[in-house]
Subunit: 214 residues, 2 copies
DNA sequence: TCAAATATCACTGTTTTCAGGGAGTACATA
DNA sequence: TATGTACTCCCTGAAAACAGTGATATTTGA
């Protein structure tokens, strides 16, 4: 099965990036790309959905933004799936999008693999939301105090994730091809940075940060 | 400050229970009680909200149920706070209630202390939702698979909560006036029951069960 | 009422965590 | 160039977690 995607984003660089990522997945073809929502709507009004399967769209765009675009599409062309890929994660926006039946939402800093998984999940008929998105959404819905954005490095997050996934220090060392001592250092730094007492605290932070499926 | 509450529930036993709980909190007075939502609306239509502060209501009631009651009140008498106390936790219902601006939701099996905290939080102007409610809501919103209800005893839950709150075995033993060995047994049982490998897994389950603030 | 579940405590031994250090390299930037 | 930050590795020692096994009393439920 081959799937035809369309992309809407006013940053050419993003479209290029997406294009290169999708090269690795031959089942997906980028049919056309657009610079804003208005172009998409115009295109669909003229050509119809035909064999298009999925729209990948940014949120902030000139003329017609992603929120409005999603809402228009879901009303006029509900068979076309929509995946929002956005820089910022905002609880209110997510809420609006979900109300408007969006099919997925991943942050722009997501890994290539996650993006592909999102696309595959959605064309298969299910919804896909990143853990970070879910987290932001619940926080917003229940007016939770935001996880004070303690900045962790990429490596620290990686280790934290593995720790919270019940791996021992030795196991993490093996997966990351690092010394056991190194992982121990990371563990200590994390405990001190996040001001927790032990593994339980680390795990809770990992969940709060959307590092794993809570 | 004294607060006047009204209660709507078709189970007399529940009203009695609530009454006895509220005896311990002299700042709260139960003004009147009702057997269903229709009675409440009728009463308010005749007498107005006057000095009433909070309605505590069940969900399943004859004639006018809790969902509808909340929606009516929030439209006609928005100054009256509403707290839903229900047997079952259903994501869809929670969603509707939140859309209709409900002020709180706790399950009927909540501890006395939590109920009082909910009431106090709400009359102070904030919202209150139990952790279990939050959990059920996100699960429903994102169509998560439910935490397979592995049944834990009350004691096990208590210990699990303390474990996930970063207490050591010794600390837990001290708080519960039990032997350190006993807590170690519980820990082992929990790890085996929940089929996890260590503290990280236990913590994740504790969160999933709504035992603590995630 | 009798078996099962629950709650409690104990011993032994291994592995892991946690706390406290120190230290070298690479890289960016001020 | 000097400074800072991230990343890596090492050591010691105590405390805690984890694994296995077993025991007793009480409560619950079929």
């Amino acid at each position: 099965m081959n799937y035809n995607l369309i992309i809407a984003d006013d940053h050419k660089m993003f479209i290029d990036g997406l294009q290169s990522i999708l090269k690795e997945a031959p089942e997906f073809t980028i049919a056309t790309t657009f610079k804003n929502g208005a172009q998409v709507v115009k295109y669909l009004d003229i050509n119809g959905v035909k064999d298009l399967h999925l729209l990948i769209t940014d949120l902030t765009m000139p003329e017609v933004d992603g929120i409005e675009l999603n809402s228009i599409i879901k009303e006029k062309y509900p068979s076309l799936k929509t995946l929002v890929v956005s820089m910022h994660i905002d609880g209110g926006m997510i809420d609006t999008l979900i109300r408007n039946n969006v099919d997925g939402y991943v942050p722009k800093n997501a890994e290539k693999d996650e993006l592909l998984e999102a696309i595959r999940t959605i064309v298969a008929g299910e919804k896909y939301f990143s853990n970070e998105v879910k987290r932001a959404y619940t926080d917003a819905m229940f007016e939770n105090k935001k996880a004070e954005e303690i900045s962790l490095t990429q490596r620290e997050k990686e280790v934290l994730k593995l720790i919270a996934e019940e791996n021992t220090t030795q196991e993490i060392a093996d997966t990351l091809f690092l010394s056991k001592h190194t992982i121990e250092s990371y563990r200590k730094n994390l405990i001190s940075k996040l001001q927790v007492k032990n593994l339980a605290g680390l795990t809770k932070h990992a969940i709060k940060m959307g590092l794993l499926d809570s």
